[in-house]
Amino acid sequence: MTDETATTTDVTGTETAATGATPEDGDVTGAQVAGAAGPDDGTSRSGDGAAGGDDVLVTVEGLEVHFPIKRGIVLERTVGYVYAVDGVDLTIRRGETYGLVGESGCGKTTLGRGLLRLVEPTGGRVVFDDIDVSTLKGERLRKSRRRMQMIFQDPLSSLDPRQSVESILIEGMRAHGLDSGKESTRARLVELLDSVGLPESALHKYPHEFSGGQRQRIGIARALAVEPDLIVADEPVSALDVSVQAQVLNLLEELQQRLGLTYLVIAHDLAVVRHISDRIGVMYLGSLVEEASSDEMYAEPMHPYTKALLSAVPVPDPTVEDEREQILLTGDLPSPANPPTGCRFHTRCPWKQETLCDTDRPQLRDVGGGHRVACHYAEDILAGRITSHEVEPELVHPDS
């Protein structure tokens, strides 16, 4: 048994063991569980501890998601593409939290969905635990989904209003053959609810009977129900009230420690992402512009966009606020259907230079210590050899 399965059985605890002993359906379920987690179906890790030196769980290579723009009714023809995700490379290590930040329209959500193949990537590869997810089909793809779950932003619209909590939680377990016998399932459900801080009585209630924070807990329990390795959390707290956000953030951290989960947290709130993440990737117009450890990103942002983003976050402290130096960006995010040439950020960049910026697209390069940045002049800016200047805002039409 791999150590993954070992950690997840901690949750199920004695119940799973008890299931194996029940004569009527125990064997079948046992086989299914093994099938879902064992090495024979090919969706799982090929061998124990063979996952590479740094223990990488997910590798994303050159991921692209381009949505076609179509015109015409009968004779549909493609007139262009929205470059939602346009060549992203990143790795997520086992047990870490990778935070993905960026503003609306930068492609962070599409990246998360493309990674889980909830939208079909148009290019690139996603390798999950040594399996190339991008080539999986049919049953094997379905089975691999057990190990990659998602938590959505809006807990009300992502929970079926006509299903009770019990049926919401069981659905995924049943689909993956984890629904093993009435009693053990029941015990598992109670345990799931307990781990997200909800009482047993919640089982027979419906989503509308809960507050926003509790609904998000149900969403988390649903993701946990199938014992995943990776959880993609897309804006997990942005729909919640401030006082409740901290509860959910703490819960996510606690669950990670207890179950050894790996998170990809997608959010626009930098303070939230910095708090919860070990490493952070900043996205702008479909690609990563900077990646660093959470502390380093805050202490020494190198990409002009990251600098501006960090300086724009208001801090609840008047003394800090009064002295805060802001880098105000002018204009809006350009349309991802018609991205600027060269560096995607050059139209708004206060450090834009005469050469390279508008002609060559900078690649993400390591500047030391795993800090990666996609800017031609990152070192010069850091050393103060280049100073910022005024930028004239450009017209941006949201639908062009």
Partner: protein, 331 residues
């Protein structure tokens, strides 16, 4: 003499077959010319209803408003619809949260601005158009001459919010109410809009009421801050006092529970336990008591009064001791 004086404002929503609901309960505060006052609270705290009541935008039927709202010696609550319409737009401007739903989608943005100018400042269509372009330029809309004939859907969210601000400022109001003006926007755009607002306010000496749930926004912008909970003001203080030593357990809890970009990482957050649905009625005691780490028996039996304490107004039986943190933590 305060520009706006709100005294004992209460709003009760009544509907057949349901219990009356008190959304705003005895709220008092005042705004001086050129001053920026913050109303902070979570959803359901009554901050938006307060602003709608001041502007006379609540429905006539179903909402019972009491108390007084005095604007430059005029009682706004007793004005007729017509008198109120004259003040609104001219003396009182408002910026809403969602710029797309507050702009008319089938009218060009130019017309939406000139309409105000013609109605309140008696300008001719031609003059108004010139003025509108100037206003758009002032709020930072690139290429206003061309954009003036565009429709709201052709603009981005940040640009729409700029248009709304231009409309609100068209008649140089003495008081501007901004209800979560940046909540729908990205942080870099939020920074643009906030700096625009504070610039305009200080240039024209306009008073601003800023309604928000974001304590960071308040910290940078407001002179005085009112923290609302369950329809009542629970703490009212100058911003430095409020943020450096918040005394109400709710304010304190809020500040403890938000992750800060400048704080050391890895420290667990201290959330406020429970949610707003746990509140008890103010008549029974303190609405915050079920969630409060400092709650004692008196909090469950006696409603606290808003009293002057430590250079601020405070509604609490057991305020956070000075220089002390709320000890008991989460859940």
């Amino acid at each position: 003499m305060a520009l706006l004086d709100v005294r004992d404002l209460s709003v009760v929503f009544k509907r057949k077959g349901t219990r009356p609901f008190t959304a705003v309960d005895g709220v008092s505060f005042s705004v001086e010319p050129g001053q920026t006052v913050g109303l902070v609270g979570e959803s359901g705290s009554g901050k938006s209803v307060t602003s709608l009541a001041i502007m006379g935008l609540l429905p006539k039927r179903g909402a019972e408003i009491s108390g007084s709202v005095t604007f430059e010696d005029t009682e706004l609550l007793t004005l007729s619809d017509k008198q109120l319409r004259d003040r609104r737009g001219r003396d009182l401007g408002m910026v809403f949260q969602d710029p797309l739903s507050s702009l008319n989608p089938v009218i060009t943005i130019g017309l939406q601005i000139t309409e105000v100018l013609e109605r309140h400042r008696g300008m001719s269509r031609k003059e108004a158009r010139v003025e509108a372009a100037e206003l758009l330029d002032r709020v930072g809309l690139p290429d206003p001459q061309r954009r003036i004939d565009e429709y709201p859907h052709q603009l981005s969210g940040g640009m729409r919010q700029r248009v709304l601000i231009a409309i609100a400022l068209a008649c140089r109001p003495k008081l501007l109410i901004a209800d979560e003006p940046t909540t729908a926007l990205d942080v870099t755009i939020q920074a643009q809009i906030l700096s625009l607002l504070s610039e305009l306010v200080s240039e024209t000496d306009t008073a601003l009421i800023m309604i928000t749930h974001d304590l960071g926004v308040v910290a940078g912008l407001c002179d005085d801050v009112n923290v609302m909970y369950g329809g009542r003001i629970v703490e009212q203080a100058q911003r430095h006092d409020l943020f450096q030593r918040s005394r109400h357990p709710y304010t304190h809890g809020l500040l403890q529970s938000i992750p800060r970009l400048d704080a050391p990482r890895g420290e667990p957050l201290t959330p406020i336990r429970g949610s707003v649905s746990d509140n008890i009625e103010w008549e029974q005691g303190c609405a915050f008591a079920p969630r409060c780490p400092n709650a004692t028996d008196v909090c469950w039996s006696e409603p606290p009064e808003l009293k002057a304490d430590d250079g601020r107004m405070l509604r609490c039986h057991n305020p956070v001791a000075i220089g002390d943190a709320v000890t008991e933590g989460a859940l």
